[in-house]
Symmetry: C2
Subunit: 331 residues, 2 copies
């Protein structure tokens, strides 16, 4: 079975880890990683979501933080601060730095991000079974900026500044994905969507993770046209984001913070949208019949990824739902 | 008093530290640093000699190694090796990395190396008394390559590869300073030579440290024409380099490995060369009358920089010799 999954950072990466646990070693997984969080820092290209996927699946992640490397040290960061170099709010660890150095050097040498990601992935993903191929959503520069309001007035800041420095604790007015309209899907992305057996939208942020991948020209059409069942997992449980800042950003783009509203925003494929199936938490079971009526087959299972076992169970439920959707479609 | 000194790495930097100890806080020191050892590694511009001067004078150096930062860690280096990235023989520490990141980012933004060095120096040199101004010899790319012979035949390797990877333990045929003829002195370099009260050539490698600075077009003429006494300190004691690979490189360019031969190679100013004075070790005292006869006033003092006290005494002897040379010239 060929499974293709979109992924943001921690939520998507942990979901993928559960997915690998329930798939057969002979299956094939392609991950389309969000790159709209990417940022240039200290002259280095940092791809937080791609790195979180690599580190999480490859055993390099710091499990407590959910980002960056385990056994990390921060000597270079302290020294940069001692030189008075901004920004000081972004944590580039010493181990992590090596990833950005390799990436930046290859990009400067002219390799596209997809080629660089393939090289970096060799270290982290090559020995996984089932095998995992990580593709950036695009080789082009696409950057999420958030329109906020603070003492400097209404202005747009890079997503990382919004999230890491401001902790999303400022009035949030809009989401602007710079460069998206001019971007193209990275090599392999459209094919991974149209020629897979199951397409999964993990519980990553629907606006700035899954949404930015879907926003790359051609991706949404590919999702609409794939023969594979398209199944999403709600990042919202009982009216709040499981982690991250999905609530503020959904509100900013005018979407109610509920698993049903996010599903409706993705839309039923039968109605020109993206979803065949949608997985909600048991606490949101009330929305199951409503969404089913709108054309989205919805199952309710425990969605908290508490540990390896609950995460694997949730991934298994996602695949089960995909099977149900596939048999719905073949009827 | 305005003192200008050329400097390579460890030998020059330690000599400068002794010099600061014997100068008056109201004096002014300008250091012209060798940049022909510079190398691009992992996309970063590394300037080993400039950094050794900054770290040594500013209290950041690892005293045992004589290069790099104290309390250094090597996590990024290990990770780069884990990615399979070459070269693995050059030790970029985590703390040290920050310096190269700041430098590279500024260079990429279009600042010349001299402006970047001024910014980095603020952190390390700004509070020193007497004040120290560090100038790179040139803003242009000048790179020492060494013609060696090994299993791959006769070929040129970057100086750092020769020194750090090969430990200078290969047949050494020639020294080629790439880009030197097309280079120009960095802003302030010629003026620092022509308008100082004392010009010092420290016990740095005469070929690949002092020699490369002198080889920047215009520098040798400025040294010949300055009104300041020009005094050098021998890097050779009793037929061997105190440290480093001066012996192999002197041999490669056809100069005998002795303090007298190095002095003769620099030449007496009175004979169109560079030196008014030359400091040799007491063990080389036999050369004093010979060099004096050739027009180079030569004193013999203990030259080993064993500790702060012996280094300061040696720097004091250098200044004393400079005074003698100045009074010779005014006669």
């Amino acid at each position: 079975m060929r499974v293709t999954a979109v992924s943001g950072g921690i939520g998507g990466a942990r979901f993928l880890r559960g997915l690998l646990a329930v798939l057969d070693p002979a299956d094939e997984v392609t991950v389309i990683g969000n790159t709209a969080d990417d940022i240039w820092l200290f002259g280095l290209k940092v791809c937080p979501d791609l790195d979180t996927v690599m580190y999480t699946l490859g055993g390099g992640i710091d499990e407590t933080r959910g980002w960056g490397r385990h056994d990390e040290s921060w000597q270079a960061k302290e020294e940069l601060a001692a030189y008075g170099v901004e920004p000081t709010w972004f944590g580039l660890g010493d181990r992590d730095l090596a990833t950005h150095l390799v990436r930046t050097q290859m990009l400067e040498a002219g390799y596209p991000l997809s080629a660089v990601t393939a090289v970096l992935s060799k270290r982290w993903l090559a020995s996984l079974r089932p095998p995992v191929r990580l593709l950036p959503m695009s080789d082009d520069r696409v950057e999420t900026h958030i329109v906020i309001e603070d003492e400097d007035g209404r202005r747009a800041v890079h997503f990382q500044e919004y999230w890491v420095r401001l902790h999303a604790q400022v009035p949030t007015h809009d989401v602007v994905v710079v460069g998206q309209r001019e971007s193209a899907p990275a090599p392999g992305v459209l094919q991974a969507i149209t020629s897979c057996d199951v397409l999964l939208l993990p519980p990553s942020n629907p606006v700035v993770s899954v949404g930015t991948v879907l926003g790359v020209p051609g991706v949404r059409d590919a999702v609409r046209s794939t023969n594979a069942p398209v199944v999403g997992v709600s990042p919202i449980i009982g009216g709040a984001a499981v982690r991250g800042m999905a609530d503020q950003l959904l509100t900013a783009i005018g979407v109610e913070v509920s698993s049903a509203a996010v599903a409706a925003w993705y839309g039923a494929r039968s109605g020109g949208g993206l979803l065949d199936g949608w997985l909600v938490d048991t606490s949101d079971a009330a929305s199951v019949p409503v969404l089913a009526a709108s054309g989205i087959r919805t199952n309710a299972v425990p969605l908290l990824m508490r540990d390896a076992a609950t995460t694997a169970a949730m991934a298994g439920a996602t695949l089960q739902l995909a099977e149900q959707c596939a048999s719905d479609r073949s009827r």
